[in-house]
Amino acid sequence: MSARDTILAKVRRSLAVSGDEAARRAAVAERLSDAKAGVIPARGQLPQDERIALFSKYAEKYGATIARVASIEDLPQEVSRYLKSSNLPASVRMGDDVLLKSAGFEREPMLTVLSGASDGTDLAGVSHARGAVAESGTLVLASGPDNPVTINFLPEHHIVAVRAEDIGASLEEAFAGIAATYGKGEMPRTVNFVTGPSRSGDIEQKIIMGAHGPRALHIVIVG
């Protein structure tokens, strides 16, 4: 008997079940297909106009900085401004994201835009978050050629654009959005929920920013 079958047999023996019970199978099938939401806190059910303020409050609490621009065409200028104010060279790493590409970075001639995954030498990266979670100030980033995962972790500064209308209230809303894009039960290789810049409290419980991931997280709300 394979280890798999032995373990399943042990589970069944301990639970005193055979694994063939129709009621148990139905309970599991229903749970997986319905995927019902549980308790969603009141602050995770705010109307659209209050979400942005709550999202900003928590993102800032966890050490992110926030800027808001009227449209995606304003993003390149905001990126340049951020780099300059952080004393960084005018260079960013970015994936093939359609929204980011539509921003018109060529209108910032001093700004170098490198495309593709990060190799660890970039000081700043730009991503487009597919959503955000207001209840905890969390960004939702999905992997792919549009937004390579390495850009979320390797550059010292992570600049993330998120559209105002994509800021959801709750975690559940973020998952519903992913299911709508990729299909129910399907996920891209990596989904990163990001709440503030990287940190560690491992030495004497003192929180220090910039452990292995970005030292700074700059969120640009678009719209």
Binding site: S2, G38, S143, V149, T190, F193, D202, I203, H212
Partner: protein, 476 residues
């Protein structure tokens, strides 16, 4: 790791006399408790979420065989591999085999208690593979040849100057006159040294906080980002997780995520909560080429259907040890096992046997704080009591304690004799307390009075005092 649980008493005495350790342990007592409380107070639905989190795990455990099958199907469908391991030895062999197939020389590791449980690092070294711990706390203790003293803060037993000394000892390629006095400098140095290691690694190993049956995803919850670099930059991502990490759906996962970080570090969400599903897709510019999940039993299936099943709800947040007066006093290493604190006191005898871990459920005052903060509502004191009963039944309790209990039971079964005996004993103890009202040493109980004084009783027994109170009130 070397299990030293049977020496708990000696370990505890050493810990109590260890001045640097006592200084470091203050950080647990002060930091974690206040942060958790603030986060919990800010979420009115917290208690409801705890109920839901408990119910989700109960449902999953009751249908564990079926959820394992569903989860396995989804992992395979997304291009990943699932390996079942009955024992720690089996898990090590499976992981070594995966590494050998890739000719791995170095393996980076995200923080994982399961790989501690199976003793993976020692095994790698014996087989010519270099394991590199990348979590700051794990990296520090790896340099020191130690094991974690806390499940989420592995180096919580250390002070800054000790870490500085280790970095100077090991990072000899860096200038000797560099300034390492600040926390920031230590963190930056570790970041610099480890950054290169991610790129060199052939395989990246992480644990999992959750496995989601609905999608076949593994989930890690971290603050540093090291786990993400480990699994993204390694060419092969190996997840090592125990069976009970399963949850049915992403929405179920959301419920438990809301109590996890708040209970652990007092954050609303940890910085990085990452869902990984299969290897990188054809069009992905980064990510691992291979994705393996090693599902470990190592004693869990034997806990199902017993009075210890509820322990399998544990999500390893560390709240029980953060609030434990025994942990505060002696730290994690005194427990001499992989998992310290109240959750360890229940889990260790289950995983290693009562002969080895039977001591630990006695390292409790039964104050109940662990249960009151456990996000999964695990009745830890009740389960420690079950272990104490089993220990007694197996005649593993020390002789003096057994006779003491028998002696007490003799009187307790004879109420008249008991009352007569205590009405003599109480004034005697009261007299022994002298003017300080403290008893400095007691015959047959010097193990207790060696470390503390016993408050002397007032002189009357409870029943006497009660009878007098009743009489007073009746006469009023």
């Amino acid at each position: 790791m070397q299990i030293t649980t049977p020496n708990f008493k000696e370990n505890a005495t050493r810990a109590l006399n260890d001045a640097p350790l006592q200084k470091a342990l203050k950080n647990v007592e002060i930091g974690f408790i206040a942060k958790r409380l603030a986060a919990v107070d800010a979420l009115p639905e917290f208690e409801q979420l705890r109920d839901n989190a408990r119910d989700i795990k109960n449902h999953t455990l009751a249908h564990l065989d079926l959820y394992l099958e569903e989860y396995e199907k989804k992992v395979i469908a997304s291009g990943g591999h699932v390996h079942f391991a009955e024992t720690a030895e089996d898990a090590r062999a499976i992981i070594l085999d995966i590494c050998r197939k890739r000719n791995a020389k170095t393996v980076t590791k995200g923080k994982s208690m399961i790989t501690e449980e199976i003793g993976l690092n020692d095994f790698f070294e014996k087989n010519g593979i270099t394991p590199v711990e990348t979590d700051l706390g794990e990296y520090i203790i790896q340099l020191r040849g130690e094991t974690p003293s806390h499940i989420i803060a592995p180096a919580v037993h250390l002070n800054k100057d000790q870490v500085e000394a280790d970095f100077r000892r090991v990072h000899t390629h860096l200038p000797a006159d560099r300034d390492l006095t600040e926390h920031e400098a230590l963190l930056n140095e570790a970041r610099l040294v480890l950054r290169q290691r991610y790129f060199e690694a052939d395989v990246g190993i992480t644990g999992a906080n959750f496995l989601v049956a609905e999608t076949g995803s593994s989930v890690i919850v971290t603050n540093e980002g090291n786990g993400d670099l480990t699994q993204t930059l390694g060419k092969c991502h190996v997840v090592v997780a125990s069976l009970e990490k399963l949850v049915p759906t992403l929405n179920d996962c959301s419920q438990i995520l809301r109590v996890l970080a708040r209970s652990a570090t007092g954050q609303d969400m940890s910085v990085y909560t990452t869902f990984s599903t299969g290897p990188k897709r054809a069009e992905d510019p980064d990510g691992p080429e291979e994705y393996h999940v090693v599902l470990l039993d190592n004693g869990r299936t034997a806990m199902l259907g017993t009075e210890f099943q509820e322990m399998l709800r544990c999500i390893r947040c560390g709240a029980c040890m953060n609030h434990c007066p025994v942990y505060h006093a002696v730290g994690g290493h005194a427990y001499g096992a992989v998992y310290p604190g109240p959750m360890g006191a229940v889990l260790t005898p289950s995983l290693s046997g009562i002969e080895v871990g039977g001591h630990l459920p006695n390292a409790s005052t039964f104050c109940g704080r662990c249960e009151s903060v456990c996000p999964m509502r695990i009745p830890l004191p009740k389960m420690m009591r079950h272990w104490r009963e089993r220990e007694f039944e197996k005649h593993l309790t020390p002789t003096a304690a057994r006779y003491g209990l028998k002696f007490w039971a003799f009187f307790a079964r004879r109420p008249k004799l008991y009352r007569a005996a205590v009405s003599v004993a109480m004034p005697l103890l009261s007299w022994l307390g002298g003017s300080s009202r403290r008893i400095h040493s007691l015959p047959l109980a010097d193990g207790w009075t060696k470390h503390r004084e016993m408050p002397a009783p007032e002189g009357k027994t409870f029943l006497q005092a009660w009878a007098e109170k009743q009489a007073r009130e009746a006469g009023r």
